[in-house]
Subunit: 196 residues, 2 copies
DNA sequence: CACGATACGGAACGCAGTTCCGCTTTACAA
DNA sequence: TTGTAAAGCGGAACTGCGTTCCGTATCGTG
């Protein structure tokens, strides 16, 4: 039952050499395109950049969202793994929580349109939302519970709405210099502090 | 120079009777459609409901967003006008701020997909975003400044990011029973409190 | 080298918002 | 009442998106 890492069909090593080459080209092209045009870069553009037809994209990544996941998987994983590390390193669980949230926000804000894509509609980006959740929810829960156990924050907020709230606050943070998502997230976290 | 209320071209009383009738039918149909299918209801559906062609929509409302604005204008205005009233009535500016925010969040959460439409992409819903801003920003500024002047909250947060943050937190609040936008907004406001 | 499995390309589909233009309806003047 | 220009209308058509499909090309093996 433990089959983590097979979701997009992109990690099962295929037999044919050209297939693997195309898949890598696609990942590179997508990363490029996301960087310069945001996560909303049209599938056709990505295919063109990679020098393949659109059909090839869909053989490797069943859906646009799966391509996005594949591109950012490493960074999401890194963020997930940073949680326990911060908890072990930081002076207090609350400090670890704050640092981890910063990490997450930095990640979201840096990728143009990622936050928007991850929230909002469910038709096209459902898988993306799901992946983020299943990867980050356990970590976030752990941090939240540790900080609650140490009495630094209130204990009546689940990780899910907290994570979604952070994600939501990051929507549109790029492309608007007057909107500072980091600050608002900090305010939200400040609102969590126990007011004894 | 003071020509408020002409923006969508929907309030300039047209000469022809049928035109006015169609415009009203369109508004009713849109309100209906938004209620049952969310603000994302396709233009064609709305036109069909109203018994007109799509072209008719675009003569009355240059853009989908303008139709959305026209449908919700009254409620946005009501929200804007409630600001000063609450400020005058409430025991403290902070209480007024909290109540006003509640009002705004209720409004956003109630209309399926409105928050999502208002934030996020700018191509299609730019005018919507703009309208909300120009209507609510002054009110929000007033409330924030009053609460800051009374020493109840910190004074270093502009109304714009605050409003956007609230709007963002409401994204996807409908259609997800596990996500309580009201609570998160409350947390955000709590984070605003002065910590002397 | 031949052949079957595998992968590829890109035309085509469905569904958005929006535009365009030939036709209808209205309002007003004669 | 009726003629006529202006205003309004309907819906086919255009652009752009994600996705599907299928005839063709390529790969790896016997």
């Amino acid at each position: 039952m433990n089959d983590s890492g097979q979701s997009a069909g992109s990690s099962a090593r295929s037999k044919r050499k050209d297939a693997r080459r195309n898949q890598q080209a696609l990942l590179d092209a997508a990363a490029d395109a996301f960087l310069s045009s945001g996560v909303d870069a049209p599938v056709r553009d990505i295919a063109a950049r990679a020098g393949v037809g659109v059909g090839t994209i869909y053989r490797h990544f069943p859906t646009r969202a799966d391509l996005v996941i594949a591109v950012y998987r490493h960074q999401v994983d890194a963020c997930a793994e940073a949680g326990p590390a911060l908890l072990a390193a930081g002076p207090t669980p609350h400090a670890a929580l704050v640092r981890w949230v910063d990490l997450f926000v930095d990640f979201l804000v840096t990728k143009h349109g990622l936050a928007t894509a991850m929230q909002g509609d469910s038709t096209c980006f459902g898988p993306l939302h799901t992946y983020f959740l299943e990867r980050l929810l356990p970590v976030c829960t752990q941090l939240l519970e540790a900080a609650a156990a140490s009495g630094e924050i209130r204990s009546d907020l689940d990780a899910y709405p907290f994570l979604r709230g952070i994600g939501n606050l990051c929507v549109g943070a790029d492309s608007d210099p007057h909107y500072d998502a980091r600050r608002l997230v900090a305010l939200l976290v400040a609102g969590l502090r126990r007011s004894d």
